[in-house]
């Protein structure tokens, strides 16, 4: 029997991108989640995959939540280096909807691949069809997957899937896998696998050095 979690089929994980991430983690892997929030994903990975887990989070309230869940977490700002973690000390380093919210996404990406053998990045797509439609109207998008106004959003680097591929090419980062995701309500969501940059509202990239 395959030890996997299927999308929305477990109460531990309600966000579809997290379920996909959980699905691709092999049993017993060593996982570091950068920007782990209140530790839901890590807790699920520990329980379902027997993963050796560690989180990094800045927010004190979320750290308390992690501790309550039994998720070890280091308080740190992802805008700087992470000297707490040595080179190649994790199998996977996860950045779930975090990369666009940090000051230097390119540096964090490098830091991620210094610490981990593989990186898993869940990215919001600012070039999604629904977002483009709103941009045509002259405003920054507020959509189902980007629900917050431009002045409130934590995503200070609104990039697209295509932008991310370019960044990886410039930095010699290999994209191992790309899993475009669409959610119910997205326009023409069945086209997401065919034309991700237009129809996937977010995407999961697996990267390596």
């Amino acid at each position: 029997m395959r030890n996997t979690i299927h999308v929305n089929d477990h109460r531990l994980i309600s966000r579809s991108d997290l379920a996909v991430i959980a699905d691709m983690i092999p049993h017993g892997a060593k996982i570091l989640d950068l920007g782990c929030g209140s530790g839901r994903l890590l807790k699920a990975l520990k329980m379902l995959k027997g993963a050796k887990i560690m989180g990094v989070e800045l927010d004190q309230g979320k750290i308390i939540e992690c501790v309550r869940r039994g998720v070890p977490v280091i308080q740190s700002n992802l805008d700087g280096a992470l000297p707490e973690f040595t080179d190649n000390s994790y199998d996977y380093v996860i950045l779930s909807r975090t990369l666009q919210a940090v000051m230097h996404p390119d540096l964090l990406l490098a830091e991620m691949l210094r610490i981990g053998n593989k990186g898993i990045i869940s990215l919001m797509n600012f070039a999604h069809f629904d977002a483009r439609l709103q941009m045509m109207g002259g405003n920054m998008p507020v959509t189902r997957s980007l629900p917050v106004k431009w002045y409130e959003t934590a995503n200070i680097h609104p990039g697209t899937l295509s932008d991310f591929r370019l960044l990886c090419r410039d930095k010699n980062i290999r994209i191992v896998r790309e899993i475009p995701l669409a959610q119910p309500g997205d326009t023409l969501r069945f086209l997401a696998p065919l034309w991700p940059n237009l129809f996937a509202s977010n995407c999961i990239f697996v990267v390596s050095k």
């Binding site: 501790v67 309550r68 869940r69 070890p72 308080q75 707490e84 000390s89």
Partner: protein, 381 residues
């Protein structure tokens, strides 16, 4: 740590009676000497499970004692030093855990220290008391834990020197410790802390009443100065600004002499005077020296990592943003060492204006962290 003001809530622990454990064992010390006929003063709260698997050892700081919570007498003005953490629904939940707190070796609140009688001479040890280390303090506590029939502690918890003791427990007896909570502490005592300890001891020893340690009455001035100096390091610039500012104590104007004009002066004076009532000058010398000598890497020929080789338990490491005695990077450095060692580590630098003393004052955040951490350890054991 500081004297605290009135308790916020009534202690649910009620009346506690300190106990004494007398050990016949001869305790070999790091300095090469040994001690015999030890007494260890301790208090316990809650009930030990039949399997003795629910015990938490709480370590006090430099000037603390075994009186963690509750009152010795209903007329006591104040409860124990960390009362708000002990009781049903609190981090040290007396309905789940058996909590132990003991006065450290070298102390002056019931456990053998320089003020105790030397069985070889029938006289107080005074300065003949051997120079002890944090490891020695842990060795002495081990006798107590063995006596209580506890093979494994669910957690060892402490702030400041208490955090050093908690960490040392995991290093000295890794098979006996299921987790550690180390608050506002360090695994190598920094030069600045050593410097303040030095000046404090110099103040005591410069007081003629100290008399080479052979005083019949406390060297009040010297000990009070040591305390005032120490106290400044437990506060922060922010907390002093908020608490005192430039406020004057009583008069409308400056006195134009050298008495206590400012509220901060009067506060320190008060702290110094209270301290002299309850603490012994020679104990202050011995315990601060033990702190100075604390550097875990000494136990593995300078190798920071090797010392944790056998330590596999989870750690909760906490620092406070305004603590300048043990600044954030000490906690972070400890967390980093433990991560590299493969331990499950949580590190949180709690935002606080209270300086080093925050470990006694930031009860809410600390309490939520400790409750969650201990609960998970308890469920896993």
């Amino acid at each position: 740590m500081s004297e605290k003001t009135e308790p916020k809530t009534e202690s649910p622990v009620g009346i506690v009676t300190p106990k004494d454990f007398h050990s016949d064992a001869r305790l070999k010390l790091d300095c090469g000497r040994s001690l015999r006929d030890l007494n260890i003063r301790y208090e316990t709260y809650g009930t030990l499970n039949p399997d003795a698997g629910n015990a938490i050892l709480v370590e006090h700081a430099l000037t603390g004692d075994a009186h963690l919570a509750g009152r010795h007498d209903e007329n006591d003005r104040k409860p124990g030093w960390w009362d708000e953490m002990v009781g049903p629904g609190r981090p040290f939940d007396t309905e789940k855990y058996f909590i132990i707190c003991s006065n450290v070796l070298g102390g002056c609140s019931g456990t053998t220290g320089p003020g105790s009688i030397d069985p070889d001479t029938g006289e107080p040890y005074r300065m003949n008391f051997p120079v002890i280390t944090i490891q020695d303090m842990v060795r002495a506590q081990k006798l107590l834990i063995d006596h209580l029939g506890i093979r494994k502690l669910l957690s060892v918890v402490g702030g400041s020197m208490g955090g050093m003791l908690a960490t040392q427990w995991a290093i000295s007896y890794p098979e006996m410790v299921s987790s550690v909570i180390a608050i506002a502490t360090a695994i190598h005592i920094p030069a600045q802390a050593i410097a303040f300890n030095w000046v404090g001891r110099e103040a005591i020893m410069a007081d003629p009443t100290w008399d080479g340690g052979n005083y019949s009455e406390q060297p009040q001035k010297g000990l009070a100065i040591a305390r005032m100096l120490g106290h400044i390091t437990y506060l922060s610039e922010e907390s002093m600004r908020h608490k005192f500012g430039r406020k004057l104590q009583s008069s409308e104007d400056y006195s134009f002499d050298f008495s206590t004009d400012f509220r901060v002066e009067s506060y320190l004076n008060h702290q110094g005077n209270c301290f002299v009532e309850r603490f012994d000058a020679n104990s202050y010398l011995y315990i601060t020296r033990a702190i100075d000598y604390f550097d875990v890497s000494d136990q593995a020929d300078g190798d920071n990592f090797k010392v944790f080789d056998n330590v596999h338990c989870p750690f909760l490491v906490v620092s406070f943003s305004s603590d300048w005695l043990f600044p954030e990077y000490h906690g972070r450095d400890m967390a980093r060492t433990l991560i590299e060692n493969g331990n499950d580590v949580t590190f949180c630098n709690i935002r606080s204006d209270y300086g080093h003393d925050a470990f006694l004052l930031e009860a809410e955040t600390l309490s939520r962290l400790m409750t969650g951490f201990l609960n998970n350890i308890y469920m896993e054991e």
